[in-house]
């Protein structure tokens, strides 16, 4: 029998006790802060949209005292610069180095798709608060990747239904890229569902803004209506060029996002322009009115659809957290709760398809002064069929 010294034995006991304590602690309920990874643009063309999404998200958390499901929320923020080439590195930074509990992002679809891939590969929960690319809840869908904004098809489809109310023929104009193609496809399906026919699809290379040749062509085709999908600075130029070419009154123009955030710059050229979207100014929903007041008070600025999308991302995450009482390790239950969530969004009732894309009401709006004022509901609970998603 080897004699073990008393000192040694004391040390052994202490070590054993320490191990036991750690073991117990590791299995206890996590009570530390929840890490939310906000990967959004704070520079470049989409900086403003990124800011709105982030402020919408944070507003929900602030309204709940800075906590979700009883745990404090800690943000890890990263400027994704809307650069797809840096997306992989950035997303991995948040997931692996910062170990975020949820990845929130982003505006640009190219970046979002890479983020979704990283989220899928690392089984990290992800909520997309804007990017509308079909693949995110289509061919690349995953149980842990949700979206609280829209798929490019949805507003296009709703606008198609809207235009079909008064017109039988239409021509579409868009940039030739994924978002444009998806939006135009949505418009065509909605327009044909409403009894119309799309005569021709005109497109120009992204992000070219010399629209004159296409406007001239449009004028010669003489459809009853036109649908446009271009974004950013192109929106402003297009609407102004359209009016200057005398087409505003002869061929009514329809769009989805075409007047979002740019009405002041577009001025008189946009007045009376009809659009369809999942949000509008003047929505008489109590939750919306409360949201607008709260946002205005907190940030001294008016919210927009991007702020709503960010706010709902936080709501969705909270729904998942509440179901597991803040235990983020219970991923499967969180995801199930989020999948079944029925949220009261400022935009109206919000739930999710099997593909994790929003099911939401679409509103007809008309540009009046500097606001896109809602006229009526075009379609309730519109879901993107997401035929490529195998969930």
């Amino acid at each position: 029998m080897i004699r073990i010294s008393l000192r040694r034995r004391t040390l052994q006991c202490a070590a054993l006790l320490a191990c036991a304590t750690l073991a117990v602690a590791a299995h206890a309920q996590p009570t530390g802060p929840i890490k939310v990874g906000l990967m959004l643009p704070t520079s470049g063309t989409f900086a403003d949209l990124g800011k709105k999404v982030a402020s919408g998200f944070k507003l929900y958390v602030t309204e709940n005292g800075g906590k979700l499901a009883g745990r404090l929320v800690q943000y890890v923020e990263l400027d994704d610069e809307s650069d797809p080439s840096k997306a992989n590195e950035n997303a991995n930074k948040l997931v692996k180095r910062d170990r975020v509990d949820v990845l929130i992002g982003t505006i640009h679809s190219g970046v979002a798709m890479t983020m979704a891939r990283v989220a899928r590969d690392t089984n990290t929960l992800m909520i997309v608060p804007n990017a509308g690319a079909a693949e995110i809840t289509g061919s690349m869908c995953a149980p842990n990747v949700f979206r609280t904004s829209f798929s490019n098809w949805q507003p296009g489809y709703a606008t198609g239904l809207l235009a079909a109310r008064k017109h039988k023929t239409a021509v579409t104009i868009s940039w030739k890229y994924a978002a444009g193609d998806e939006s135009v496809r949505g418009f065509r399906e909605g327009f044909e569902k409403g009894g119309g026919k799309v005569i021709k699809d005109l497109h120009l290379p992204f992000p070219n803004v010399e629209f004159q040749p296409l406007l001239t062509e449009l004028a010669t085709i003489k459809p009853e209506a036109a649908y446009v999908f271009v974004a950013g600075a192109g929106q402003v130029k297009f609407v102004k060029d359209y009016a200057a070419a005398g087409l505003k009154n002869s061929i009514p123009l329809y769009g989805a996002f075409i007047t979002e955030g740019t009405l002041e710059a577009q001025g008189e050229a946009a007045s009376g322009l009809q659009t369809a979207l999942h949000y509008a100014d003047g929505l008489k929903i109590p939750k919306n009115e409360a949201f607008i007041t709260s946002y205005q008070k907190t940030y001294n600025a008016a919210p927009d659809v991007f702020a709503v999308q960010g706010y709902d991302a936080a709501q969705l995450f909270a729904a998942g957290l509440q179901a597991v009482k803040g235990d983020t390790r219970k991923k499967a239950e969180m995801i199930k709760a989020m999948e079944d969530a029925k949220l009261e969004s400022p935009r109206g009732p919000l739930s999710f398809s099997k593909s994790r894309n929003p099911i939401q009401d679409m509103y007809a709006r008309v540009a009046t002064g500097n606001r896109n004022v809602m006229t009526d509901v075009i379609v309730k609970a519109l879901a993107d069929p997401s035929p490529d998603c195998k969930l």
């Binding site: 520079s43 470049g44 063309t45 900086a47 403003d48 030739k176 005109l202 497109h203 120009l204 290379p205 992204f206 992000p207 070219n208 803004v209 010399e210 004159q212 040749p213 296409l214 406007l215 001239t216 062509e217 004028a219 010669t220 003489k222 950013g232 600075a233 192109g234 929106q235 402003v236 130029k237 102004k240 060029d241 200057a244 070419a245 005398g246 087409l247 002869s250 061929i251 955030g261 740019t262 002041e264 710059a265 577009q266 001025g267």
Partner: protein, 287 residues
């Protein structure tokens, strides 16, 4: 595809081409006379547009905005030349590219910091805010016709300046042989400063008059820069006449590319550039 339609598209092309000429002429002068590759040229175009946006509410009319804007642009151009570009003449092209690329980033940051990232608009002056009917559905904005006329005037003015004035001959001599011009007692530094300021003013002027028909937004300089470089290369570096011809060629390629081959329209201008370079590696015209 009937004749009236082709004529209207040609009108679109001519108007676009004249705008391109305005920007490219400044670029080709700077490149041709001083041998400097100025990547920041698109930023000067953007600067002009933002000047128009900032000054319009202060002055209330287009003419005053342009005059003040041009004065400011000439000053800024001269200052930049004195501080930075004067040191580039003896350097190699890579260093010029690096410095002017750095300038692009600085300009974008300054713009973002002091004016913000929102998309803005400049209104067409009231006296030009009407349209001329073309056929029964379409009209052509009078402002675009005005722009084309102004661009033609500037082209004529440039021609007169370079070919018919003493300063013009100094510029041409300085482009051919800088040292010899200095030996002849002409202050070549001031000639260069003037040419640079002129180049900046041309780009800024293009930005100012184009502002009412485009969106004043972040990144607007980059797209203009790339097309201007194509025009300068196709036209021949240093040749203002080349810039005029090439800008029309490129504009027609872009316009009719969109009409006839929309799926390949993005490549149209580069295909034209490739063809021209295969045939004439130095561009269409000598400087």
């Amino acid at each position: 595809m009937d004749l009236p339609l082709i004529l209207i598209q040609a009108l679109n092309a001519v108007q676009y081409g004249l705008l391109l000429f305005l920007v490219a002429s400044g670029l080709t002068l700077i490149f041709g006379v001083m041998g400097v590759i100025n990547l920041a040229h698109g930023s000067f175009y953007m600067m002009g547009a933002y000047l128009a946006f900032s000054l319009a509410p202060l002055t209330g009319n287009l003419l005053a905005t342009i005059v003040v804007g041009l004065l400011l642009s000439v000053l800024i151009g001269a200052l930049l030349e004195w501080a930075l570009f004067a040191h580039l003449y003896r350097r190699n092209h890579l260093q010029q590219v690096l410095l002017t690329y750095g300038l692009i980033l600085i300009f974008e940051s300054l713009r973002s910091r002091f004016i913000g990232d929102d998309v803005h608009s400049v209104s067409v002056p009231a006296w030009l805010d009407f349209s001329i009917p073309l056929g029964d559905v379409m009209t052509y904005p009078a402002y675009r016709l005005f722009m084309s006329a102004v661009c033609l005037l500037v082209a004529a003015g440039l021609y007169l300046l370079i070919q018919r004035t003493r300063l013009g001959s100094q510029i041409r001599a300085g482009a051919a042989n800088r040292e010899m011009v200095q030996v002849l007692g002409i202050n070549i530094d001031w000639v260069y400063r003037l040419v640079f300021a002129l180049g900046v003013a041309l780009a800024a002027f293009a930005g100012m008059i184009n502002a009412p028909v485009t969106a004043v937004a972040p990144g607007m300089g980059m797209s203009m820069l790339i097309v201007s470089f194509v025009v300068v290369i196709v036209g021949g570096i240093g040749s203002v006449w080349g810039a005029l011809v090439a800008s029309q060629l490129i504009a027609f390629a872009d316009t009719f590319g969109k009409v006839f081959v929309p799926d390949y329209a993005g490549m149209a201008i580069y295909i034209v550039m490739a063809i021209v370079l295969l045939w004439r590696p130095e561009g269409l015209f000598k400087s």
